[in-house]
Symmetry: C2
Subunit: 428 residues, 2 copies
């Protein structure tokens, strides 16, 4: 069956170098141990309801660079993988609330972002196919009547004004048992959702108003320390180094020295690891908003001087993220090259893995023809190549070599679930 | 996405008549209620580990005719549906024994039935991909050393002699946490499996040495009575009538009168329902071994006189089932026509649905070019048409008409799960 799935996987050039070949072989060889260890972890810390994880595959290193607990992009999944998502939703909601009949889905307040709305329509579809009545309760302040949007895919989405009465939220004639958030709360916890008696999943404290990437990556580091001991590998091969510093104001150039110092410390640490593994690429650092999302407020730095040389336009770009929220804290993260390329144009690509509960349900490549191997690809101009990961992410093929596609995808699935475990611990 | 899945579904002619169109529409309309009801049922009575259900679709009626709790035929599933099976196995074994590392699979003692061995290889593959170390412990009395079989699919299966030491079973150098039975125990409960400390799934009492179809269909009848009230339909539309009588000996013609009487009573009952629904086909009865399997010991009867007219060859055929086990009790079941036909030859077809835990994970059509619409199709000469049910069984499509393929398959999935629920109650 895997030969069949291989036919549907487009050509992808990966510059695999020794350590990662070793890493993939190693993960593959220890898969039973890994799966057992993960099962026990989920028992201690249940996985968040859903997540997507951006990975970077540098050949010599494979690591997560971002974990989104309010994933969009469901529309980019291969339709063939949807049944896996449906089954995973059935499994998790049954555990959360076995008697549930209705689900109220609370989306982002984007009405013009058609990509987001297509994702919302797919998520709506998944929940409905899982056997629930689903309605969409919008927090759009100017939505007074239900509004039906027709999407480019011809699907229709009906947004209804969210109603708060006492400790209960609803839409007209529909009081749900469960409330599913697909809004990352970048602008804070909305009062309309506070102290309601219905269960909100994920809980409000998961929103970007409360989370910091630096806290998250501290958890990830700890997960990787434990995991690496289980299968005896160098944690660095799957963990991006990072640092953070205090308050920063890009427009006023406040906190710059601390930032530059930390960039230098981090670059030196990367240099030492590159020397150890004989990697001949210049190290770089990604500076990004500690509470940011949507790929906004992200830049690549090769030298501390890059910080000091930022022009006004660049500083303005780094001073706010989604919905104009200002950036006061940043995280400095080891830049992980992506050496996966897509198609004849050799467009740079990075894998994105989707999970519902602790099940890997699909994924795709984020591809950018105008960005380099050391840049954030989550930027205008990106596109998505859904892959029939269905037979591969969760089904390593023992009859093929460890670097065959299904087994590379298995490695993606393992690292993505380690990233998920870090999120689970963060929320605990 | 469903238009895509439709392209992969071969042409299938169904003579849909009014009541079933009504039934499909009805199931489709009440799907959220149905799913909620089923979720609550699984909480009271957990589903068996796995099952396959044979359905018959008469147009005016859709009903299960056999439920197998030790399914074979996994090799007939569409490879694209395997990830669903893998995910379902992960979900159920995690619940049964979160720390499990190894699974010992105990198969049938068939070494020459290549169809069975291919199914075993697929089952082995599913368990391994779910993240377990799997070994096959055979009860073959003459197996003293491990034996590796190479199958027509080029897959290799290693059978190892089962070892019993104290209250523990194992194969050499492998003591499993879990024992998975894929042997229906037609010949009785093997002493080597009695009173072991490891968990055996499904438990020994599920084997055909203890089960009777008549007990099972009594449970099914009760499930359907409750279910029908939930969605307000005539239970007969999804429940085959049945009767059973005492001891019978076909060779000695003992118990014949009772059998003939019951055939008449049952035929009259069917006639009344046919009249009520204006069905113009002759009613028939299936006589089969009450503890039989593998489609053996089954015959079609249109009249009580058919019983009295059986010749010696026919009586011999009805006197024993799998592995020569003699038939002493039979069940008389309302014959359900199958009006689904396959391909240009209009070969008669019946859907077979596979479930792991309470998740529908796939299915196929059993097709027979030499059998009639009123005959058992589980017979030499049958073949299988795997269907990409993956996007349909579990994902009704609200954008299509209730009789579109995905929605017909949804109806199959509902009836199959009702049959599963009856088995769950039987085992409780």
């Amino acid at each position: 069956m895997d030969s069949q799935s291989l036919n549907t996987i487009p050509h992808l050039t990966t510059v695999l170098q020794e350590p990662l070949e070793d890493l993939q072989t190693h993960l593959f060889k220890h898969r039973t141990k890994i799966e057992q260890w993960l099962r026990l972890q989920w028992q201690d810390t249940p996985a968040p309801f859903y997540a997507s994880v951006d990975l970077r595959n540098a050949g010599f290193k494979l690591a997560p660079v971002d974990t989104n607990l309010f994933p969009a992009g469901f529309n980019n999944l291969d339709p063939k993988t949807i049944p896996l998502a449906v089954q995973a939703v059935q499994s998790v909601i049954e555990r959360l609330n076995v008697g549930a009949y209705g689900i109220l889905l609370i989306p982002e307040n984007h009405t013009r972002n058609l990509h987001y709305l297509e994702s919302l329509a797919t998520l709506y579809d998944i929940l409905q196919k899982a056997g629930y009545e689903v309605r969409i309760g919008s927090m759009l302040p100017d939505l007074l009547e239900p509004q039906t949007l027709t999407l480019p895919s011809k699907r229709r989405l009906r947004l209804e004004p969210l109603i708060r009465e006492g400790d209960c939220i609803s839409v007209k004639n529909f009081v749900p048992c469960l409330v599913l958030l697909n809004n990352d709360l970048s602008l804070g916890r909305p009062p309309i959702l506070e102290d309601i008696h219905q269960e909100i999943i994920p809980p409000l404290q998961v929103g970007w108003s409360s989370r910091l990437k630096s806290t998250y990556f501290t958890h990830y580091q700890k997960v990787i320390q434990e995991f690496s001991k289980q299968i005896d590998i160098d944690p660095w091969l799957i963990d991006p180094l990072f640092r953070n510093c205090g308050e920063i104001n890009f427009l006023k150039k406040e906190g710059y020295e601390c930032l530059a110092d930390n960039v230098n410390i981090l670059l030196n640490a990367i240099r030492r690891k590159y020397a150890e593994y004989d990697v001949h690429h210049p190290p770089f650092v990604i500076v990004k908003a500690d509470a940011g999302s949507y790929g906004m407020g992200v830049m690549t730095v090769h030298d501390a001087d890059d910080i000091l040389a930022l022009n006004r336009k660049q500083r303005t770009r780094m001073s706010s993220t989604k919905e104009g929220k200002s950036i006061r804290r940043v995280i400095l993260q080891e830049g992980v090259y992506t050496f996966e390329t897509w198609g004849k144009l050799n467009a740079v690509a990075e894998p994105v893995v989707y999970m519902i509960d602790h099940f890997v349900v699909g994924g795709f490549y984020r591809v950018h023809t105008k960005r380099g191997v050391n840049e954030n690809l989550n930027a205008p101009g990106m596109h998505f190549e859904p892959l029939a990961f269905v037979n591969s992410y969760i089904t390593p093929d023992l009859h093929q070599t460890p670097d065959a596609d299904p087994n590379r995808f298995y490695a993606y699935g393992v690292i993505a679930r380690l990233a998920l475990l870090a999120a689970a611990r963060e929320l605990k």
